[in-house]
Structures are given as structure tokens and as C-alpha cells.
């Protein structure tokens, strides 16, 4: 029920909507902070631009307890295996937000040490450009992520059908 090619019925889609509503309003971010965007993340999480209104205030600093991986700041090749391992340690359902242009495409660091976008390492759900993005941009991105979560199909078994995975469930 819910996963695979089945057509949604009335009750399954209502169930999916309510589970999605619950999930999108209680995101547990894991802020994988490396660089300057971390300062804007701190501003977003603080009182002025408040991340708490999305229910996403409390960062879970262990991937086992988090469901939103916020990759904040440049990822270098030295750091890439660690990012991959943290992503694999997170349980489903999980979403990845690429915060800042260094995580989207590598930014203006086109050199030997920078990964040109974290989607070369892990699948990404939401890209936030900006160097660093204004806090309002981040809030807008969280809202877009929420609407994405709402449109995904959630089931009682807990599996989320993500367009980035193929039908067998392996990560693309």
C-alpha cells in the first residue's frame, strides 16, 4: 500500500496527505555545516528569521535521529566521503537540501579541491542558490521543500516514494 505502481485510492491518499502534513511540519535538520553559509544558517535559526515556525528549530546532531540533511557550505574532495557516510547513516524518509551555491554547483571554486555540486555525491531534493543565500531565501526553500513533501506519497510502512530512487528502492 502506497509504494510501487499502485493507483492511490481515496483512503490511501488521505492517509498520505496526513502523514505528509505531519512530516513536513516536524523536520529534524542535520546541519552539515562547513563554511560561510553556516553563518546564514545561524541567522536563519535565530530569533529574527525564525526556523522554529516550521517546526525545524532543533538540530539533531546525529544522523540517526535526523530526517533533513542540510548541507551548508562548500564540500571539498577531502570531505566528500564523510558526507556520503553521513547520508547513508540517515534513515528513510530523508530529504537533502543543498544550501548555498557551493553545494549546488561548486560556486566559483572551480578548482582541484572542490566538489562541483553535492548532487555528484548524494541525491538532492532542494537547491538553494546564493552566496550565501539570504535567510528569506532559505525560508522560501523550506516552504518549497514542504510542498514537495506534501506531494510525495507516504504510506503506513513508512517508505516515501522519491522520484530520485528507482522502483527497487536503491539510491540513484
Amino acid at each position: 500500500m502506497g509504494v510501487g505502481g499502485e493507483a492511490p485510492g481515496f483512503f490511501t491518499s488521505r492517509l498520505s496527505d496526513s502523514i505528509a502534513w505531519a512530516r513536513k511540519w516536524s523536520l529534524f535538520p542535520y546541519p552539515f555545516v562547513t563554511a560561510c553559509c553556516g553563518m546564514e544558517y545561524m541567522s536563519v535559526a535565530s530569533a529574527h528569521y525564525d526556523l522554529d515556525r516550521f517546526g525545524a528549530a532543533w538540530p539533531r546532531f546525529t544522523p540517526r535521529q535526523a530526517d533533513m540533511l542540510l548541507v551548508v557550505g562548500t564540500i571539498s574532495h577531502k570531505m566528500a566521503p564523510i558526507l556520503r557516510r553521513v547520508y547513508e547513516q540517515m534513515c528513510d524518509p530523508k530529504w537533502v537540501v543543498a544550501f548555498g551555491v557551493c553545494t549546488c554547483t561548486g560556486g566559483f571554486y572551480d578548482n582541484y579541491s572542490t566538489v562541483q555540486g553535492i548532487d555528484r555525491i548524494i541525491p538532492v531534493d532542494c537547491y538553494i542558490p546564493g552566496c550565501p543565500p539570504r535567510p528569506e531565501t532559505v525560508l522560501d526553500a523550506i516552504m518549497k521543500l514542504q510542498s514537495k513533501i506534501q506531494k510525495q506519497r507516504h504510506g503506513l510502512t513508512g517508505m516515501v516514494e522519491s522520484p530520485l530512487r528507482d522502483r527497487s528502492g536503491t539510491i540513484a
Binding site: F32, M79, F108, R134
Partner: protein, 461 residues
């Protein structure tokens, strides 16, 4: 006294036999980081633990290496400013100013006095934001979340001012070789005065929360001590060195810009523990505010009185006229600049930039108004051209928020830098980190690391 030349022992496990039960214990290897909340940014500390006590430690860096020095060789002298912003990203204006001063030293030019005052004001604002972030983050990691939220609020006041001035909150690229991007917007200095009052009020509130707080003092007093001699021999500079008792501040010893005209004190610690570093930073913020107020009073050149009684035109009209070739009387007219570009008009630009045509971009009225300035603009921007300092090498250093930020620059006469080496203050601080945490407990690593204010952008460049 710790002997600075002794390296920590390689992590062999030490085994100990407990007499009563006959059980043996072994020390444990614990990896702190690189993805760890307390390792601001990304640092890996490999510790060998005997119970909770740290027996030896090894620090591994380089997780944020972004090839700043190699990029400087590729992009050209003027285009390196965005890269310098992202070095110490909590005080970006100071990196901009130091880099610009370095290129100006190579060229042998000096911008106007008003430009120096504005640079001092922006440097001190950056120093305050850096110390606010450091105290906030280290307090949060010790559990004082309220201090974090209050200090972030104070930082927002300053970010809004910086955004009015430069256009960006964090990565500003405000300074140019030979001057600044733009002069101050009207009324900015009065607003700065008011915001400083608010920021100082927040600092006083956090002072009341933390400075005599029993829990805070127990966590940071006599933790992470380092002696004056060890710190000096390891290359420490900045608040960490001053907290050990050594009175070394480049703004006093080797004054640059216009710091010799201001009256300010340099706080010195006694013991070199985390508590001293916290107190030194709190006091330095107050002294920075003092410097800013004096600079606001002393800054030369009042508001630019632009005579709009003639035939003013807007920027868009000027550009359209120039593109159609109707430039005959453009230089005679005054351009009404859009509020977001306030300070970039011709009179303001002249007040804050050196009169050096081979270095400073001409103001837009002249670029659109006459062909010589257009060619001048072209030669400064196009690849292969640009600012060309004569061949030579210099070292420039300023007192950044973390210590002595230096740039060693080698020019070969072309538009690209031959070699730019950044001397990051926290590189040397991190070198000494293991000496500060050995002998303490794991929880003390968090406290010590927070007060050193390691910024990975600067450390790994």
C-alpha cells in the same frame, strides 16, 4: 610549563592493571569530527582518552581547503576580493581591507583619508561581528542558548547596516584597490551610532548572564591554559595571545590606516585560560565601539552636496543616452543615483578613491560620457589587462579579529598575481590546540575549541 617542542606521543594505547579485580584497562581512541556540532566548520581531533581524560591529541585540518591561493593566481588582482571575503567569513571586511592594502603597497599608492576612516569603521564593525559570533557559538556549546540568541540579534543589527553600505550581509567585497566600491550612504553614520547603542546594550545583557555565572565559570575557568612563552613561540597572535598576558596588538605597535589617531585600550588577560579569552573578547567589543564613535566624529568630508538645480537625469537615462551616442553634454549633467547605488556617483567616488587611473575604475558618468574613460574601464576589466603592479614582493599584516592576518604577495608585473600567500591567524592557534587540551577532559575540548575561534575558511584557505 608545557615544553613547546615536545610533540604529543603517537596514539599507542596505554594499558593499566587494576590491582583489586585483576582487570586491565586500555586507553581509547576517539575521533571528534569532522562533522561535529562543536567543530565549527570541519576539524578532526583524534584523541586518545584514558577514561575521560585526554592523554594525547592530534588535529587534522584541510577539510575546507578551497584553493584560495591558486585561485588568486588565476583571476587577477582586482577579482580576488570575493575570495578574500570567504577567508574569515565572520569578519569579511577585514580580509578585504588587508588584501587591498597589500596591493596598494605593491603599487605604492594610497587612497584618501576619508577612505582610511571608512576602512577603520568597517574593520571595527567586522571585529565586533566576529567576537559576537565567537562568544555566541562558544556559549551555545556550553549550554547557554539564550546568550546565542541574544548575540545573534545584536549581530543582525550590524548586518543590516553592512547591507545598507555594501549590498550584502556577509560576503561583501566592499573594498577595492585604491579605495572603496562606494562612499557612505546619507545618514549611515547616525544610524551606526544608534545601532551601536543597541549592540552594546545586548553585550551588557549577555555580560550579566555569563560573566559571573557559576556554571559558566566552572566550565571555563582554568581550562585550556597556555603560558605566555609557549603561546609566543607557537606563533599565536590576537585575543588568544593577549589573554595569556602579552601586550601585543598591531594597531598599537605598528599602527596602520589611521589607528594612531584614536584613543583606545587593549585588554590583556592574566592566565591564558578560556575565561580570560572570553573576557578579552567582551572588552574588545566595547573598545571597538569606542573606536567607531571616535572615527564617526573625526571623519573628514561631510555629505556631498550635489547640485540638482541643473538638469539631473536618472542612471537609466544616462546609460540609454550613452548607448545611442548622445554623449555631448553628459559630463555637464548630474546623475541621480538609485538609492541602492548611493555613494557611487562621481563626487562621492572621488572622495574615497585614490587618483590613480591605472588602478581605480572611473565613475560611471565618465565611463559613459567620454571615450578615454571607457577605454580606461576596459583596460582595467578585461582579461589579460587589469591592475599591473610593478614586479616585487611585499608582506602586509593587520590586526584581524583572530590575530595577525597577513598577505605575502609576489607580483611579476602582469595583471594576475604570481603568488599570494595568506597568513591565517588561526592556523597557528590550531597548531597549539593539542597542548591546550591535553590533560583536560573531553568536555573541555568543546570549551577550549570554542574560545579559540577557529574559522575553517581562514584555516584551510
Amino acid at each position: 610549563m608545557i615544553d613547546a617542542s615536545v610533540q604529543p606521543a603517537p596514539p599507542e594505547t596505554t594499558t593499566e592493571q587494576l590491582p583489586a579485580s585483576g582487570l586491565t584497562t586500555r586507553s581509547m581512541l576517539l575521533n571528534v569530527g569532522p562533522s561535529h556540532p562543536a567543530m565549527h566548520g570541519v576539524i578532526r581531533i583524534i584523541t586518545e582518552l584514558d577514561g575521560e581524560k585526554v592523554v594525547s591529541a592530534d588535529v587534522e585540518i584541510g577539510y575546507l581547503h578551497r584553493a584560495f591561493e591558486k585561485e588568486c593566481e588565476v583571476v587577477g588582482w582586482g577579482q580576488a576580493f570575493p575570495y578574500t571575503d570567504r577567508l574569515n567569513y565572520v569578519s569579511p571586511l577585514m580580509n578585504n581591507v588587508t588584501y587591498a592594502m597589500g596591493v596598494e603597497k605593491l603599487l605604492g599608492i594610497h587612497p584618501t583619508e576619508r577612505c582610511d576612516y571608512i576602512r577603520v569603521i568597517t574593520c571595527e564593525i567586522s571585529r565586533i561581528t566576529d567576537h559576537l559570533t565567537c562568544v555566541a557559538a562558544s556559549a551555545m556549546e556550553l549550554g547557554a542558548m539564550t546568550a546565542f540568541i541574544y548575540l545573534m540579534k545584536a549581530r543582525e543589527y550590524l548586518y543590516q547596516l553592512v547591507e545598507e553600505l555594501t549590498g550584502a550581509r556577509l560576503t561583501v567585497s566592499y573594498v577595492r584597490v585604491g579605495g572603496l566600491k562606494a562612499d557612505l550612504p546619507s545618514g549611515w553614520l547616525e544610524r551606526l551610532n544608534q545601532e551601536l547603542d543597541k549592540v552594546l546594550k545586548v553585550i551588557d545583557e549577555v555580560d550579566v548572564l555569563l560573566t559571573r555565572n557559576r556554571i559558566f565559570i566552572d566550565r571555563v575557568k582554568d581550562v585550556g591554559c597556555i603560558s605566555k612563552e609557549t603561546a609566543w613561540s607557537l606563533g599565536f597572535t590576537g585575543p588568544v595571545l593577549r589573554s595569556t598576558g602579552m601586550a601585543r596588538d598591531m594597531r598599537k605597535d605598528e599602527p596602520y590606516l589611521v589607528y594612531d589617531r584614536f584613543d583606545f585600550d587593549v585588554p590583556i588577560g592574566a592566565v591564558g585560560d578560556n575565561y580570560d579569552r572570553y573576557l578579552v573578547r567582551m572588552e574588545e567589543m566595547r573598545q571597538s565601539a569606542r573606536i567607531i564613535r571616535q572615527a564617526i566624529e573625526q571623519i573628514p568630508g561631510g555629505a556631498v552636496q550635489v547640485d540638482m538645480s541643473g538638469r539631473p537625469l536618472t542612471g537609466a537615462q544616462m546609460v540609454d543616452a550613452a548607448k545611442m551616442g548622445m554623449t555631448a553634454d553628459l559630463l555637464l549633467r548630474t546623475v541621480r543615483v538609485d538609492p541602492t547605488l548611493e555613494g557611487t556617483d562621481r563626487e562621492s567616488a572621488r572622495r574615497v578613491n585614490a587618483q590613480a587611473r591605472n588602478v581605480v575604475l572611473p565613475p560611471k558618468e565618465e565611463t559613459y560620457g567620454n571615450i578615454e574613460s571607457l577605454m580606461n574601464h576596459f583596460m582595467l576589466i578585461m582579461e589579460g589587462e587589469g591592475i599591473k603592479p610593478p614586479p616585487g614582493e611585499i608582506y602586509i599584516a593587520t590586526e584581524a579579529a583572530n590575530g595577525e592576518l597577513g598577505f605575502y604577495m609576489v607580483s611579476d608585473g602582469s595583471g594576475n598575481a604570481y603568488r599570494v600567500r595568506c597568513r591565517p591567524p588561526c592556523f597557528y592557534l590550531m597548531q597549539g590546540l593539542d597542548k591546550m587540551i591535553i590533560g583536560g577532559m573531553i568536555a573541555d575540548i568543546v570549551a577550549t575549541f570554542g574560545t579559540i575561534n577557529m574559522i575553517a575558511g581562514e584555516l584551510d584557505r
